[in-house]
């Protein structure tokens, strides 16, 4: 019995990942010939898309803050979403006089953001627009990162800021800078404490999994829609498991 429990304990995460992979692949192929699913309204994305258009018209910039999460651990997940958003913004603003600017608090993220900008411009055949100084490292500690990113928000004629990555409660300093420079702040992070702060400080906070839906909402591929559907199904499964566990505990079946 102990061996079985140990086996389940060891391989349950792999089984979970395989289920996620299976569902994602299923929906990618199933949805290929289906009409695209309608997504629930998230005002943050609607406002941000409008600000992207306005920034292009007004000759202003977009600022994408990727936070300071290392891609070697869980914190990197939110930063990868930031890179997807950067790709969408660079495409949308490719004909603007002022390309988007990115700040990050990790060397690897800085290189990845430069790479994202370069490959996006390359795919649009406008390589000459790429400038490595549009993606820069601002600081390596939480406060140093915030202190380095604040002048970017103030000085670079920013129209909208998208904070997407691992950022702690210091995000309040960045949203405050955004408020003072009268630019929109859309913000999502994987930190629970920072999400509470965002509710009070950001124009458009993204809570929980909303940040991870950014790719689908900002016009990405079928795979983004498929992974959203996979998340929806697994969320209901988790709710059912939690409720079942509560009932079992209430009935005293398991200690």
């Amino acid at each position: 019995m102990e061996q079985v429990l140990s086996f389940i304990n060891d391989y349950l995460p792999l089984a979970f990942i395989l289920v996620c992979l299976g569902l994602t692949l299923f929906f990618i192929f199933y949805d290929r010939n289906q009409p695209r699913i309608s997504l629930r309204e998230i005002p943050a994305f609607r406002h941000f898309r409008r600000e992207v258009d306005l920034a292009v018209e007004a000759g202003k910039r977009l600022h994408i803050s990727l936070g300071r999460g290392s891609i070697f651990d869980l914190q990197g997940g939110a930063a990868f979403i930031g890179l997807t958003i950067l790709d969408r913004c660079a495409r949308a603003a490719s004909n603007s006089d002022r390309p988007p600017v990115t700040t990050s608090g990790d060397g690897m993220l800085t290189v990845l953001s430069q790479d994202t900008l370069q490959s996006t411009y390359s795919s649009l055949a406008v390589e000459e627009r790429y400038d490595p100084t549009n993606a820069h490292l601002t600081g390596l500690t939480p406060m140093a990162y915030a202190a380095g990113a604040m002048p970017t928000i103030h000085d670079e004629h920013i129209n909208a800021n998208f904070f997407a990555g691992h950022i702690g409660t210091e995000i309040a300093l960045l949203t405050e800078a955004s408020e003072r420079s009268q630019s929109l702040s859309v913000a999502g992070t994987d930190s629970i404490h920072a999400q509470a702060v965002l509710y009070a400080t950001a124009d458009e906070p993204l809570l929980g999994e909303e940040l991870y839906a950014a790719g689908a909402y900002l016009g990405s591929s079928l795979a983004h829609f498929a992974s959203l559907r996979m998340q929806d199904i697994l969320r209901w499964v988790l709710i059912a498991v939690i409720l079942l566990g509560s009932v079992i505990k209430l009935l005293g079946i398991m200690p």
């Binding site: 391989y11 995460p13 792999l14 979970f16 990942i17 996620c20 992979l21 994602t24 692949l25 070697f72 997940g77 939110a78 990868f80 979403i81 890179l83 997807t84 990790d106 060397g107 690897m108 800085t110 290189v111 990845l112 430069q114 994202t116 370069q118 490959s119 490595p132 100084t133 820069h136 490292l137 601002t138 390596l140 500690t141 406060m143 915030a146 380095g148 000085d155 409660t169 210091e170 309040a172 300093l173 405050e176 629970i192 702060v197 509710y199 009070a200 400080t201 929980g208 999994e209 909303e210 991870y212 839906a213 591929s221 795979a223 992974s227 996979m230 998340q231 697994l234 969320r235 988790l238």
Partner: protein, 207 residues
């Protein structure tokens, strides 16, 4: 060449990702490969940090040459960066001079920013009611007030048992439930993001 390189990048990234993932579940060959790949990644991360610092210096060099109103700050940053590199290079990162720079400049500045953060949060909460006048904003503010009053003893009244118990209930029941819900959402989102990278759909490496 332009088409081959992105595909090669994607293949390398996907294969490396799958091998590292398998290393978490299967010992032996996969674990060894995972260890080697992570070792390479750590070396690359150190070089990326150097590139990031070079990039930071370049950004501020450009700002300094642009002679904008705030270019003096870029000069301060470049001079400080140069001095710190020389001092830390000579005395070592844990040497007396490097630690003196850290404790005399870095720590006080960061603590000051923390203090400003507290003021910014109070100001933001006060502004929230005019920005989002909705019932759940009122609920948010009342909850914040109850938790604050239940955490610290009050002037003249001391500790109020009712507030303390309400605060305890809020912190242990609805707050924990909400936080777990958010964390589950974040976890599912992270898995979905990782899978998209493993499938080669998202390519944040110039693919």
């Amino acid at each position: 060449m332009k088409k081959i390189l992105p595909t090669t990048n994607a293949v390398i990234a996907v294969v490396s990702g799958v091998l590292v993932l398998l290393g978490y579940f299967f010992s032996g060959v996969f674990e060894s490969i995972q260890s080697v790949l992570l070792g390479w990644a750590i070396i690359l991360a150190a070089f990326a940090l150097l590139l990031g610092i070079f990039n930071l210096a370049l950004v501020h060099w450009k700002k300094l040459n642009a002679k904008g109103p705030n270019s003096i700050y870029s000069l301060v940053l470049l001079v400080s960066l140069g001095i710190t590199i020389v001092v830390a290079g000579l005395s070592g990162p844990t040497g007396g001079a490097a630690l003196w720079i850290f404790n005399t400049f870095q720590v006080p500045v960061e603590v000051s920013l923390l203090a400003i953060l507290a003021v910014v949060l109070v100001y933001s909460v006060a502004r929230l009611i005019s920005r989002k006048p909705r019932w759940y904003t009122v609920l948010f503010l009342v909850t914040v007030l109850v938790v604050l009053l239940g955490t610290v003893p009050l002037f003249f009244f001391g500790e109020l048992p009712l507030l303390t118990s309400v605060r305890g209930w809020i912190a242990q029941v609805p707050a924990v439930a909400g936080a777990r819900g958010l964390l589950l959402g974040v976890a599912l989102g992270t898995v979905a993001t990782g899978l998209r990278i493993l499938l080669g759909v998202d390519r944040p490496y110039g693919g």
